[in-house]
């Protein structure tokens, strides 16, 4: 809100001053006084007199009436016409679309100044002509912008929802579509006003705009130019007025756009640049072990609502040839944990404690160069959405060849052969042909296979898969899960599998770690954990699963926000077994069979 105050006050003051010009006790702006020609500051004329001895301040204020009046009127007219055309074109499609768009294109084809000169020459100069000309010039911009915005808004579910409610077209356009495209239109409006002020001045300067002796900023610049050598300040005042007005208009429209968006209001958007603390400078305490182990990893993020800790004291390990599933809902910290193992955390995420040991080295202390050498070679990652992870303008085969050659001395020939072999290995039919296609030419399942092929390119010993099947159809998901299980068996790589689906965990994993609100709440072998859960969250999650025998009403409430965590057990507010004892934070206990559980009432609930 603070951002809007200054530009709004400035524009308001400007407009009010211009409007109030007749009421102010100003000297007549067109009365000539040749005796005081080009006089400096004097009594009654703080800014001096111009080449005909007219008062500069009075001409500046009266000139604002002409300049701003023309600018606002033409921008408003252009906005009205353009937005209407854009709405019709974007909403009606068909003939309406073709007519409006082509009309707009024709206008856009004319060089703007030439068009202005033509119209002015035909209709004669004057403020009315100027408004018309400028409106014609700026309307196409509004029309094209509105058209594009309407196209994207009309495809949203909330517009379809109002249609399904039976709303009439005018109601949809005014209540739903217009408010949602108002932001860009406001920005366009500010640009149009600013540009109109400049073009008005330019045309007046050329003698084609406002007719003398009516004052306008353009005419003032024109007059000042002729006497530039004797009185340079005469040129400065109108130019300064012009610059400040345009600047204030731009600032105002930016602030307005943010102000009309209810989403932007809540956040506040302050983001500090955090310095990265390097933890754990001591050497690895354990000898090099196969696989990966994370110990006591905690990461923090600074947000406008305070510092949050999306990963809190997480320890887990995965051995070669083993699959560890990390399961949790959104906000549980599972993806950040996975990214930490790859050294791929965003710079705004700060590691405050912990180690990620891989082949005897702490990945958190490695520099970017060493990490890059590991990534894609020893450790590889499979992402949820292969479409965003593959380069859309590069052939899939070339991307795999590139991945191979980035980490080995293989020649182009050998790398291509290897890519072909990988494609066969992940079950892509007709691999020679598929190597030459672009990502968008593949189906979702095939892209995920290509992604896996790329991950396997350099025989990694650790694969991190972040929800690799979530975006896929059920029959394709089954194929990919089978492929991953096969690959792990054949290559002996360790696999960390991030997912929100317990059924997928049951399908693929040996060990499971259940996370909730940044913490591990339970871990152990999959079969044991699913048969006899030792934490109420795991038990409730299993019960809420659609294919459990007695699907209840789910877990009440929602996952707590990380900046407003409950003081004790984080699951307590949603837990059916919560008592006063749960108000103190529970620790993650190691049970006699090697499993872990974070629940103070574990013995009472599960025996």
């Amino acid at each position: 809100m603070k951002r809007i105050a200054f530009p709004a006050a400035f524009v308001a003051a400007l407009v009010l001053t211009a409007l109030a010009a007749p009421l102010l006790d100003l000297p007549d702006p067109i009365r000539q006084d040749i005796a005081n020609r080009l006089a400096g500051a004097m009594a009654g004329s703080p800014l001096g007199r111009d080449e005909f001895g007219r008062d500069v301040l009075a001409r500046l204020i009266w000139g604002a009436r002409a300049s701003l009046g023309v600018a606002f009127a033409s921008a408003a007219l252009a906005c009205l016409v353009g937005v209407t055309l854009g709405l019709i074109g974007g909403w009606m499609r068909g003939l309406g679309e073709i007519l409006t768009l082509r009309l707009v294109d024709i206008v856009l084809c004319f060089p703007p100044i030439l068009l202005a000169l033509l119209v002015v020459t035909l209709l004669g100069p004057g403020a009315g002509t100027l408004i018309l000309v400028l409106a014609v010039l700026y309307a196409p911009g509004f029309a094209r912008l509105t058209y594009g915005e309407v196209l994207s808004v009309r495809a949203t579910d909330y517009v379809e929802a109002v249609r399904a409610l039976g709303a009439s077209t005018p109601r949809i356009l005014t209540r739903t579509v217009l408010p949602n495209i108002a932001g860009p239109i406001l920005v366009q409006f500010s640009l149009a006003v600013a540009a109109a002020v400049v073009v008005e001045s330019g045309l007046s300067f050329l003698g084609l705009g406002v007719v003398p002796p009516t004052p306008s900023w353009g005419l003032m610049i024109r007059g000042g130019r002729t006497t530039m050598a004797q009185a340079p300040l005469l040129l400065l005042w109108p130019c300064l007025a012009l610059t400040l007005t345009i600047l204030a208009m731009n600032l105002l429209c930016d602030a307005l756009r943010d102000a009309v968006d209810p989403r932007a209001r809540a956040g506040g958007g302050r983001r500090r640049i955090v310095d990265r603390v390097l933890p754990g400078l001591f050497p690895a305490p354990r000898p090099a072990a196969p696989g990966l182990s994370i110990s006591h990893l905690s990461v923090e993020i600074d947000t406008p609502k305070g510092t949050i800790r999306p990963v809190d004291d997480v320890s887990l390990s995965v051995a070669s040839g083993e699959t560890l599933a990390v399961v949790g809902e959104s906000g549980s910290g599972k993806t950040l944990t996975a990214l930490a193992t790859m050294g791929l955390l965003d710079p705004s995420v700060r590691v405050v404690a912990g180690q990620v040991l891989f082949e005897g080295r702490d990945l958190l202390t490695l520099d970017e160069r060493d990490l890059r050498a590991l990534r894609g070679k020893r450790i590889a990652m499979i992402f949820q959405d292969p479409m965003t992870a593959l380069n859309p303008v590069m052939r899939v085969g070339d991307q795999i060849v590139e991945a191979i050659r980035a980490h080995s001395a293989a020649g182009a020939r050998a790398a291509t052969d290897r890519a072909l072999e990988l494609f066969r290995r992940v079950g892509i039919a007709d691999p020679e042909k598929r190597l030459r296609v672009y990502p968008h030419e593949m189906s979702g399942g095939m892209r995920q296979r290509a992604m896996i092929a790329m991950a396997l390119a350099n025989n990694p010993v650790l694969l991190v898969a972040d929800e690799p099947t979530t975006a896929l159809d059920a029959t394709v998901q089954a194929q990919i899960l089978d492929l991953l299980a096969d690959l792990r068996r054949d290559t002996g790589a360790a696999l960390i599998f991030i997912t929100h689906s317990l059924a997928v965990v049951a399908e693929i994993a040996d060990q499971v770690v259940v996370m909730y609100a940044g913490q591990i709440v339970e871990s152990g072998p999959v079969a044991a954990v699913f048969a006899t859960p030792r934490h109420p969250y795991t038990a409730a999650l299993l019960a809420a699963s659609p294919d459990s025998n007695d699907p209840s009403a789910g877990i009440p409430g929602t996952v707590p926000a990380l900046h407003a965590l409950p003081p004790g057990c984080r699951f307590a507010p949603r837990c059916a077994h919560a008592t006063d004892a749960c108000a103190t934070p529970p620790v993650l206990e190691v049970l006699e069979d090697g499993r872990e559980s974070r629940c103070v009432r574990r013995r009472e609930i599960f025996g």
């Binding site: 949203t156 095939m446 089954a478 689906s501 929602t558």
Partner: protein, 323 residues
């Protein structure tokens, strides 16, 4: 039970119509029948590209079919006048998949819930706030939430708001288009439970579009399985899930991962679904089917009745061993 919603031989394709559009049209639906009785819940399942969402939009009249009949409450809605449509809109509503995209980000949720009341002038303006509070209560939200903006809610809460908006006009027919697939696991069950409760309380007829068979099984009386715009199998939910007849339904059921450990007899399908713009001739499923023969390519198999209300479109029904 009389049918509330009836679709007969509905086809719908997209694209390939314009002057400059030379691309092959995507055939989303081809000769699909659908029938939903009053108070009945029909689950429509299929993978992406099966046409299940399009079917929901056609049933609601949001999309006009290229061919076929749509009847609501016994009367054809094709070519209905705008006034007639407005009256119909009151009685049929939709709940969307994406809880973040289906609410207007710039308007308070109470106002959005009241939209239907205002458009159809059901409740006088003065009483709308009370009605909105009642609707919020119905979906398990406190009444003061009506003054907030959509971004202040979690996904599950937004989905509740979407349901409240749909219920405002007091519809008899609700299309739920993947209403839980974008939600967290622990929240999914809440929403499914809410939909089941509302259906029982309000006697709604529902078309539940989903790719998740497990959710459909919990909520629906009948199931219709689509593949590439054609019906593969339909019947009472219990029958279809216990003894699926069509090879595609069997593969779909086998592919769903299960809590009780590693899968099932291997019934994996080969390859990906073909493109809906150039579907195979004859039976559309034959390119991925283990039982396919030359006969399958010859003609489109008709739906054949196996037992009361249970039908499947496969020429080899007798040849395929029961599960």
């Amino acid at each position: 039970m009389s049918a509330l919603v009836e679709l007969e031989g509905v086809s719908k394709s997209f694209g390939g119509e314009g002057w400059f559009d030379r691309t092959k049209p995507v055939q989303a639906l081809r000769g699909v029948d659908m029938r939903i009785a009053r108070g009945e819940a029909l689950g429509v399942v299929g993978e992406s590209g099966s046409g299940k969402s399009t079917l929901g939009r056609v049933a609601l009249g949001l999309l006009e079919p290229n061919a076929g009949q749509v009847r609501f409450d016994g009367a054809s809605v094709g070519g209905a006048s705008p006034a007639h449509w407005r009256a119909l809109r009151r009685r049929m509503q939709i709940v969307f998949q994406d809880p973040f995209g289906s609410l207007d980000p710039r308007r308070r949720v109470g106002v959005q819930i009241a939209d239907g009341l205002a458009i159809h002038d059901i409740v006088p303006a003065a009483a709308r706030a009370a009605k909105v509070a009642e609707l919020l209560g119905l979906v398990g939200l406190p009444p003061e939430h009506g003054d907030r903006f959509p971004h202040e809610f979690s996904g599950g809460q937004r989905q509740r708001i979407g349901i409240a908006r749909a219920l405002a006009t007091g519809p008899d027919f609700l299309v739920a288009d993947e209403p839980v697939s974008a939600l967290d696991v622990s929240i999914q069950a809440q929403i499914v439970g809410l939909l089941a409760k509302l259906r029982a309380e309000l006697g709604l007829a529902m078309m539940f579009v989903s790719h998740d068979l497990r959710v459909v099984r919990r909520l629906c009386d009948r199931v219709q399985v689509l593949y590439l715009g054609r019906t593969m199998e339909e019947g009472p939910a219990a029958r279809v899930f216990e003894s699926p007849a069509h090879p595609y339904t069997r593969a779909l059921l086998a592919a769903a991962p299960r809590l009780d450990g590693p899968r099932r007899a291997k019934l994996l399908l080969r390859g990906d679904p073909p493109s809906p713009s150039s579907p195979p001739s004859g039976c559309v499923f034959r390119t991925r089917c283990a039982h396919a023969t030359a006969e399958c390519a010859a003609a489109v198999p008709a739906l054949r009745e196996i037992s009361a209300g249970h039908k499947a479109a496969c020429v080899h029904l007798e040849r395929i061993p029961p599960l």
